[in-house]
């Protein structure tokens, strides 16, 4: 196990008093650990007085949550119509081809996980992509490659 169970307990404690605390807890755990570990589900369920099935149901329902570690960076390419109208489909294809993965897959070097996203609210400068909290607009193949190269070279940062 590469994560700290105390950390998970602390996150749960910070939220457990809030009504409907499941999503805030899951978000924070994923932020801290990178995914929602199987082992955290009974702990959350106990703390919130819910069944494991309810927590498990929520984790699997929402596309933001993952139960397996992802690559070091998650790259989301927008598939929304406003991006499609400006060459978004070509960008999608380029992303898959150049990274050698399909959506929801991670490159062999574990650097990049490619995910689709349906609109980043960046439609006025489409096509768009997101890495971490950064959103990129007017993305073409050249900018895509630059972003990926920067991510890969910047090994220390996150």
């Amino acid at each position: 196990m590469t994560y700290d169970t105390n950390r998970i307990e602390a996150i749960i404690d910070a939220h457990r008093h809030r009504p409907g605390a499941t999503l805030p807890i899951l978000h924070d755990i994923q932020e801290a650990v990178g995914y929602v570990p199987e082992e955290s589900i009974p702990i959350i369920a106990d703390a919130l007085n819910l069944s494991r099935a309810e927590i498990y149901g929520a984790v699997t329902y929402y596309s933001d949550f993952r139960m397996q570690p992802a690559g070091r960076h998650i790259v989301q390419v927008c598939r929304g119509e406003a991006c499609q109208a400006k060459g978004g489909c070509d960008l999608e294809e380029h992303a898959k081809r150049s990274l050698g993965v399909d959506f929801h897959e991670t490159t062999r070097d574990r650097e990049i996980t490619l995910e689709p996203v349906f609109c980043l609210g960046n439609c006025a400068c489409s096509p768009s992509m997101r890495v971490g909290d950064e959103i990129f607009g007017r993305v073409d193949e050249v900018t895509f490659d630059e972003v990926i190269r920067d991510l890969k070279s910047n090994r220390g940062a996150n």
């Binding site: 009504p19 409907g20 605390a21 499941t22 999503l23 805030p24 899951l26 978000h27 919130l48 819910l50 309810e54 149901g57 929520a58 329902y61 929402y62 596309s63 933001d64 949550f65 929304g80 119509e81 406003a82 991006c83 499609q84 109208a85 400006k86 996203v117 349906f118 609109c119 980043l120 609210g121 960046n122 439609c123 006025a124 400068c125 489409s126 768009s128 997101r130 909290d133 950064e134 959103i135 990129f136 607009g137 007017r138």
Partner: protein, 518 residues
């Protein structure tokens, strides 16, 4: 005195380099010993000009754009801090026709002020509505909203005052105000711009709603795709609390309202109000059967106002300037202004706030300047991924809820996505089905299974396999989805599909005009 320089911190401005430009301007000013005050404002909504840099001058704000990091030294050389001429110079921001020819009520401050400064907020008309609201009876607030004619801007266009009246009339020990900031529709970004550029107007609107219906707790359900909004909103809420716009003694009135932001988790259906409430309660975002409506039994079973960001942010003006002022804008039963978002293959994409009644043609050509590619426009999709595709022949339609409905289209949240003549409408119809299959909450069969079948059937039409039979199948499938689904996800996915088929039959391998209704 320091010269004020404005560089938007808006997501889209930043997505094309505004943060780098801001940093370069700060560094260059430092290097040259120029005294500037760098303000990170919201966007003016003219996105082809982003990053748009503005300088405060004696005659008003002067605009330069689109500015790249590499342009910064040259701007200083040209004396842009004193309004010096430069090839990127655009003159006074307020005189740019795209901006000048708008009627900005809800967006009056977006791009104008420092989004987090309550002082600037107040100096530009903020808090006037709340001051009035704390002084009057709740029913007066609800009556004002009713009289304004405001209808929900999230998509369904339900009269806001009526919804509030129901919550006001339903006795309960706890009521809630929930702001729907899920903005899932592709092609829309007005909620985001407003929350990033003028967050206090949303906060003020929510507090007024709370005072109007007797709710003391508010939640903003924000989609997780908006990381900048998350930061701005949390900071704004904290400052609003310190200021006394939130808390247990709002503007010294003795009245209370608390507010928090919650993040969604990547589900489109969670924009549907009952799924949103399930999600806020910590559950899977599955749609609830109605009745009961949320106004009677909403969050944790309590009476709840669920309103879109723009709806709520329009309330302070209605209270502050009076309902008649707001009602004077618009046409027919569509009152006030509409915040249009123009995106896709369009030369001048942006946010345009105008009274209802502008035609699509005016929007697309007078504002939008036609396609970005220079090719003819072929279709637009209005109202998000569940909205109909509208062909050029129908561009004379006025932007009015009823006029759209008459032609089987909808305005929804005000997004208009343009496509040029290279668009493959079969592919867009397939995407609509694929999107529904991906995002269905799974509660009802017509949507869950129908959408998956829809993709398969369209694939067979594309492959030329028994096209007549499969087209019939597609139509009956759409019929089942439209009339048999529990919510608009399954119920309206047929709109883009059927409209594509009806207006662009040639893309489906059909020669004549194919009208499924006949």
């Amino acid at each position: 005195m320091a010269t004020r320089v404005f560089v938007p911190a808006d997501t889209t401005a930043a997505s094309v380099g505004a943060d780098r430009v801001a940093a370069a301007i700060a560094a260059e000013a430092e290097r040259r010993g120029e005294n500037i005050e760098l303000v990170r404002n919201g966007s003016r909504g003219m996105f082809w000009l982003e990053p748009l840099v503005e300088v405060q001058s004696d005659i008003g704000r002067l605009a330069y754009g689109p500015v790249t990091k590499a342009d910064v030294a040259g701007l200083f050389d040209a004396g842009f801090l004193k309004g010096g001429a430069h090839p990127l110079g655009l003159g006074l921001t307020g005189e740019i026709p795209y901006f000048k020819n708008q009627q900005r009520l809800t967006f009056a401050r977006v791009g104008l002020i420092d989004p987090l400064s309550i002082t600037e907020y107040e100096a530009n008309g903020g808090l006037a509505g709340l001051r009035k609201a704390v002084a009057v009876a709740p029913v007066q607030i609800v009556d004002d909203v009713k009289a304004s004619g405001l209808r929900g801007r999230g998509g369904a266009a339900f009269p806001t005052g009526l919804k509030w009246q129901t919550v006001l009339n339903t006795p309960a020990d706890q009521k809630y105000i929930v702001c729907n900031a899920d903005e899932g529709d592709s092609g829309t970004f007005a909620d985001r711009m407003l929350m990033e550029g003028d967050p206090y107007s949303l906060i003020e609107g929510m507090v007024i709603a709370g005072l109007g219906v007797g709710a003391t707790q508010g939640h903003i359900y924000l989609r997780s795709e908006y990381p900048r909004c998350w930061k701005v909103l949390n900071e704004a809420i904290e400052r609003a609390r310190e200021f006394g716009m939130l808390g247990d003694n709002i503007l010294d009135s003795g009245k209370a309202f608390e507010l928090e932001v919650r993040l969604g988790a990547g589900s489109y259906v969670c924009g549907e109000e009952t799924a949103l409430l399930e999600s806020l309660e910590g559950k899977r975002g599955e749609v609830r059967a109605k009745p009961p409506v949320p106004a009677i039994s909403g969050l944790f079973g309590k009476p709840t106002v669920v309103n879109n960001v723009i709806t709520l942010a329009s309330v302070p003006i209605i209270l502050g300037c009076g309902p008649a002022f707001y009602h004077d804008y618009g046409m027919g039963r569509s009152r006030g202004t509409l915040t249009l978002q123009l995106a896709g293959n369009i030369k001048y994409p942006g946010m345009i706030e105008r009274a209802f009644g502008l035609t699509l043609k005016e929007l697309l050509y007078d504002y939008g300047g036609g396609s970005a590619s220079g090719r003819p426009l072929r279709a637009v999709q209005a109202g998000g991924p569940l909205g109909a595709y509208i062909p050029v022949e129908d561009f004379d339609m006025p932007l009015d809820y009823e006029a759209f409905m008459e032609r089987g289209a909808m305005i929804g949240h005000g997004g208009v996505v343009a496509f040029d003549d290279t668009v493959d409408m079969l592919k867009m119809a397939r995407f609509a089905m694929e999107f529904c299959a991906e995002e269905s909450c799974g509660k009802c069969t017509p949507c869950r299974i129908g959408a998956v079948r829809g993709v398969e059937v369209i694939d067979r039409i594309k492959a030329g396999t028994e096209p007549e039979k499969n087209l019939q199948l597609l139509e009956s499938l759409c019929d089942t989805m439209q009339y048999g689904s529990l919510c608009a996800m399954g119920g309206m996915t047929p709109y883009p599909v059927v409209s594509a088929l009806k207006h662009f039959p040639e893309d489906f391998g059909l020669k004549e005009n194919h009208n499924p209704e006949n």
